[in-house]
């Protein structure tokens, strides 16, 4: 017994105060929201789009990055000869609409708004989610799991992962949705009593990620179920997932904000 108490004292209180306090520090090399500076692009240069493994970058009419396909691997930034594309440390990426994830130089991600009032009254202080891994590689699953540990403690917000879809208010889906999991995802969704929501976590669940256009997978959860929240990343940092969940529940952020600049930078990186 004494050794249990001794350990408890040594381990200390670890739960972060966020969102009541600032978010925890992210590593310096963390790759968050992309920073686009098209003024530096050479005429006719397509290096970034050619380097992207998932085709997340389009160049017409303007350079755009689809955060739903982006793996945040920064191959584009490495390929860019002019420093026009880089990744900042802004972790806020989650959005309500698939189209909100298309970012350009002038339009950053349109951050998630809260659920409409009636649903928020039901889920705002108690949201039970069933996790469905439909081909996920276990990285997104791990980062969701970590939200239940003491540093993040999503139990503080009434958010809990439950053992059965019958106990759940919605699904939190990872993986590109393999053909072999289509039926299981459909049945699990059907087993959740309405009203229900679906959260897609990670590039795979949003667009298929590295498995885009594989005949073995379905290009994301949207092929099978309606999605209410998209959380980009490969995998998204737990802070990005938590930010998305809190916005969805109306505990963070104002309505549909787009930022005019990206946190952590005032200008694009120097040449």
């Amino acid at each position: 017994m004494l050794n249990l108490m001794r350990a408890r004292i040594q381990q200390g209180q670890r739960t972060i105060r966020y969102p009541a306090g600032p978010p925890p520090d992210l590593p310096e090399r963390f790759r968050g929201h992309p920073i686009i500076a098209t003024g530096r692009c050479a005429d006719g240069c397509r290096e970034c789009a050619a380097a992207c493994p998932t085709g997340a970058i389009t160049l017409q009419p303007a350079l755009a990055v689809d955060l739903g396909k982006c793996l945040f691997c920064a191959e584009c930034a490495a390929a860019c000869p002019d420093g026009a594309l880089s990744f900042g440390t802004d972790h806020r990426l989650a959005a309500r609409g698939r189209a909100d994830l298309m970012v350009t130089e002038s339009d950053t991600v349109r951050l998630a708004t809260a659920l409409e009032a009636k649903t928020r009254r039901l889920f705002g202080r108690s949201l039970k989610l069933r996790q469905v891994s439909a081909g996920g590689c276990n990285a997104c699953e791990s980062e969701i799991n970590v939200l239940g540990t003491i540093v993040w403690d999503i139990g503080r917000f009434g958010i809990q992962i439950v053992a059965s879809p019958r106990h759940a208010d919605g699904l939190i889906v990872t993986g590109p949705v393999t053909a072999n999991m289509r039926l299981a995802l459909q049945e699990t969704y059907a087993a959740v009593a309405p009203p229900k929501i679906v959260i897609a976590v990670g590039a795979c669940a949003i667009s298929g990620g590295p498995y885009i256009d594989h005949p073995e997978a379905l290009n994301g959860a949207g092929a099978v179920v309606p999605v209410d929240l998209y959380v980009p990343g490969c995998p998204p940092h737990p802070l990005t997932i938590l930010d998305g969940l809190l916005r969805l529940l109306g505990r963070l952020g104002t309505e549909g904000e787009r930022r005019t600049h990206i946190a952590g930078t005032e200008t694009a990186p120097p040449v």
Binding site: R31, G135, C137, N145, M181, L183, P215
Partner: protein, 505 residues
């Protein structure tokens, strides 16, 4: 009695011309396999690839004593091949995989069944026939009797965990038999790698088993380097070693916390849940990603440490390890924990040997196997980490081996951070050579990862085989439930903590 046929030999992390691999008739090929296993070799890869209108089989066996691999090949025309599983249980799943991937019948296999419920390897544009096979719908081994009941769990099962189907034959609380059916996570990685490498290849490997990014990416890079006769600089090799051991640390600490959670011992479960994040954050300090995405690339490591970062990592490592010791020692000191761990889910040494068990689970059953010592590549050629062994083969042994490995990985990282070799961390890589065979073995945290690559006349992948350690170990989990309480299933499952997506690919 003829002498056993001579096979081609190579070291892990190297490449040989495909022409040097003996192309044997089936009788000699099968004799080589059975003779090799009788001599104490292990089958690390046994797979096939379409070869014009026939199928070519490839065998790689490991001689752990000599740190050598032996390989041969054979060609099968027709639609069937003789099964060797009855004589050699460790090829069971390999044969079922060959049958499924190449559309063949394994004649004489004790119970031929799908592995991944996937269509055969075909060109990229083929769409799978949805009616062909339904995952989880097979003849499960059944026990009949008036008091016997059958419990089916999954694919979607409690907890935040990947899908699999578990079919228990039970009598009251006691499990007579467990059978595991997987394939739900099949994404078509091996099919997609044919004709590569291309810009997606490394990302397939990093997400093959996404919690073993460093392990699989290292194996892939060793293949690319072997095929192009490139050697990463010493500093790059050291950084890869640090990354691999940090990955091991995070997973082992997380597993001990999860084991504690499964028996309701909340102190260790809570503390380890946080501590796992501390190790992941160290990896993120190096490369920006908690799972090490982007940290290992052909030619070395694209991210480097300066002295300030190395010093910070040393400090964080020391503090995290002190906290780990405080959290984990509680397990061994608490009799209610030991009561649950000891004697649960035993896999005896002879069964482990027959099944070809590897990794911490194998070492917990007394099998002295570790690719870092037996087939060292990269930094492990110069720095040796003592192998952690136990002999009871139960959940306690699988937990305690992890604790020993945590301590030894911390010591290794501490030493490496202090003596990082100078110079660049990465070098350029030439294109892969034509008509080569290369094998990489990396001791991931679940066990030995094996990749085998065969290049065609233009140096592109004709076949890329990925064998995650889970491929060998799922059968041991099934075995460990025999005679156990069904309520101990989560505990046994966590004590192995195998990868579903690494198996399904």
């Amino acid at each position: 009695m003829s002498a056993a046929p001579r096979l081609a030999r190579l070291k892990a992390g190297t490449a040989i011309p495909r022409a040097a691999v003996p192309d044997l008739p089936w009788a000699e090929f099968s004799e080589a396999l059975l003779d090799g296993v009788a001599r104490g070799l292990r089958v690390v890869a046994y797979f096939a690839a379409p070869d014009e209108n026939a199928v070519r089989f490839h065998l790689v066996m490991a001689d752990d004593q000599e740190s050598t691999l032996e390989t041969c090949t054979t060609r099968i025309a027709g639609d069937a091949f003789p099964s060797l599983t009855r004589q050699c249980p460790q090829v069971n799943l390999f044969e079922r995989e060959i049958a499924e991937q190449c559309g063949l019948r394994a004649e004489g296999h004790p119970w031929p069944k799908p592995v991944r419920f996937q269509p055969p390897l075909m060109p990229r544009t083929r769409v799978p026939d949805p009616a062909a096979s339904i995952p989880g719908v097979v003849d499960f081994y059944r026990v009949e009797g008036s008091e016997v009941h059958e419990v089916g769990v999954g694919p979607v099962h409690a907890g935040v965990i990947e899908p699999g189907h578990f079919r228990f034959q039970c009598h009251g609380e006691q499990v007579f038999h467990l059978e595991i059916s997987l394939g739900y996570q099949h994404r078509g990685i091996e099919r997609a790698l044919i004709g590569g490498p291309d810009r997606r290849s490394i990302h397939y490997l990093e997400t093959a088993a996404g919690d073993t990014t460093i392990g699989h990416a290292t194996a892939y890079c060793e293949i690319i380097e072997a095929l192009s006769h490139t050697r990463p600089p010493a500093r790059g090799a050291a950084l890869r070693g640090i990354a691999l051991e940090l990955e091991r640390l995070a997973s082992h600490v997380g597993d001990l916390g999860a084991l504690a959670g499964d028996i309701g011992f909340l102190p260790t479960a809570s503390y380890c849940g946080r501590l796992r994040g501390d190790f992941l954050n160290m990896t993120a300090d190096i490369c920006g990603s908690r799972f090490g995405r982007g940290l290992v690339r052909p030619g070395g490591a694209p991210f480097d440490l300066d002295e300030a970062l190395a010093a910070r990592l040393l400090d964080r490592l020391a503090r995290a390890f002190a906290d780990c010791r405080s959290a984990i020692d509680l397990l061994w000191d608490t009799s209610s924990v030991m009561e649950r761990f000891e004697g649960t889910g035993i896999v005896p040494r002879d069964v482990a040997m027959a099944l070809g068990l590897i990794g911490p689970a194998g070492r917990a059953s007394g099998l002295d196997r570790d690719a870092r010592r037996d087939h060292p590549t990269g930094i492990f050629r110069f720095h040796h980490i003592p192998v952690a062994l136990a002999d009871s083969g139960d959940t306690f042994a699988r937990a305690y081996v992890r604790w020993l490995e945590i301590q030894r990985s911390v010591a290794f990282i501490r030493e490496m951070l202090k003596v990082l070799p100078r110079g660049a961390a990465r070098t350029d890589v030439a294109p892969a050579g034509p008509l080569l065979l290369s094998v990489a073995l990396v001791e991931g945290w679940r066990g030995e990862i094996c990749h085998v690559a065969l290049t065609d006349g233009s140096g592109r992948f004709a076949r890329y085989k990925i064998i995650d350690p889970s491929f060998h170990n799922w059968s041991a989990l099934a075995y460990s439930l025999r005679g156990q309480q069904i309520s101990d299933f989560p505990l046994c499952n966590k004590s192995f903590n195998l990868s579903y997506c690494g198996h399904d690919l």
